[in-house]
Amino acid sequence: MTRYVMVADLRRCVGCQTCAAACKHANATPPGVQWRQVLDMETGTYPQVQRTFVPVGCMHCADPPCESVCPSTATKIRPDGIVSIDYDLCIGCGYCAVACPYQARHIVHKRDLAYDKQAMANEEQRFDEGRMSVAMKCNFCQDRIDHAAETGQIPGVDPEVTPACVNSCIADALHFGDKDDPDSNVNNLLAENQTFRMHEELGTDPGFYYIWDKNE
């Protein structure tokens, strides 16, 4: 079996938002829609205050509430663990958006331009009518993952078949790979470090791990 997951090292992330920009570039998301974003979280009270940058997006849960509620079967769990959306099936009911506890899903009903009235060349070229009024979210750059099957490359190791956000990370904080492969990069990271997953208590079995310390 294969289960692709992402691992974010919170000790390394500097909140530069390069991953967010790379995602936007790779997936041509409209203004205001970020499939990958980095939260800036302040915790504690003065003088014991900490600032943590937390990359978030679709957690590609193993038990995703978005998939079970979807009335049209547009949302599916692929055999490799990626939660994907079939834009041709989706009816845009928004049920998945209210079922997702990670606020990862977006529905855009009206075409929005970065500069108000005039579409830039890239917006004109990359506009996709099929993504209007349907749910959309991070798909771990699934086209790249699928390409790996043709080339024999390894997602998370070979940049050509690795999600754009991971490739772009300047601090080597984001990692991607197959958790079910005992020798994978992400498995090594999970074995060597202590991690948590967000909202784990909700039982969705998210596929996004946060490293907070090395193993003792």
Partner: protein
């Protein structure tokens, strides 16, 4: 306000609330109209109103979906989706209710067929109401919806609204069982208790502060306008002779308005999402992990 705190989701708005309002009232009425028909109460006006209410609710959903011409795709996932199950039930509920209305109506008096259709419609209505409660429970991203204590609120609210419509129909179309006033009061008491328990449970298990604030702010009006006033009006209607039926109509209207307000508040105004949380902060250098945070939550 931090962007990490829960914020009001906008994917489901008044149109989604309209589905729960129309569906709850319509199914509540279909169930109670079947019970009332046992004692000879005229069914067809109530059945018709119930079907129209459910239809209005479904029309609201149709207005809400982004790709309305793909609406039939809603039937594709009965294995796990309560929305699909609701759609399947509605596909049976509406024709069966209309069959009951026609068979029990003044132009085609077919009592045996009518009785069968009336009870089939009542069972389907009960399943439909249950589906609505489960739809909200399955919305894991909205803490105020997913709490199991909301399910009894949705069910008893639908029945209380149905009892309100039953009182109104009885006043206009004659008759109505003697127990309908008592039933309304019992259902209002049930709604009050269910709402009270829901608020207490939600506060205890944890919810976004803003969702709790919205719910607590709306509670006095729900209690006074939706519970106390209709109860007082029902009691007065029993002792005021000629004015009695009109007070009963008012009681029904206020009971319905209270239920609609309750559902609008829960679905359109208290729908704050989960937000983000950090169980603990990362260890940097030789330091220690710091305490985490769940911004915008009461606990």
């Amino acid at each position: 306000m931090s962007r990490n705190e829960p914020w009001l989701q906008t994917n489901w708005d008044w149109r989604a609330a309209g589905n729960f309002i129309g569906g709850g009232s319509g199914t509540g009425l279909a169930i109670l109209a079947a019970l009332a028909s046992i004692q000879g109460t005229v069914y067809w006006p109530m059945g018709l109103i119930g079907a129209v209410l459910v239809g209005i609710g479904l029309f609201c959903v149709w207005l809400e979906i982004g790709r309305p011409w793909r609406a039939l795709h809603v039937f594709f996932h009965p294995q796990t989706s309560w929305m699909t199950r609701e759609a399947f039930v509605s596909a049976l509920l509406l024709p069966v209710t209309l069959l009951a209305v026609v068979a029990a109506g003044p132009f085609l008096a077919m009592p045996t067929l009518a009785m069968g259709a009336i009870w089939a419609a009542a069972v389907l209505a009960a399943i439909y109401l249950f589906c609505q409660a489960r739809i909200l429970h399955a919305s894991k991203g909205i803490p105020a919806w997913r709490h199991p204590s909301l399910m009894p609120v949705i069910i008893v609210t639908g029945l209380a609204e149905g009892a309100g419509f039953l009182l109104i129909s009885a006043a206009f179309f004659g008759g109505g069982p003697a127990w309908m006033q008592v039933l309304l009061v019992v259902l209002l008491l049930g709604r009050w208790l269910a709402w009270r328990k829901y608020l207490a449970d939600l506060t205890q298990t944890g919810a976004p502060n803003k969702a709790l604030a919205v719910l607590h702010e709306a509670t006095p009006l729900i209690n006074i306008g939706g519970h106390i006033v209709p109860t007082v009006l029902v009691v007065l209607s029993l002792f005021t002779g000629d004015f009695g039926p009109w007070l009963a109509v008012l009681a029904g209207l206020t009971a319905i308005a209270g239920g609609w307000q309750l559902k609008f508040v829960v679905i359109a105004r208290a729908a704050f999402n989960q937000g983000f949380a950090l169980p603990l902060t990362p260890v940097r250098g030789t330091g220690q992990a710091g305490p985490g945070d769940k911004p915008g939550w009461n606990n």
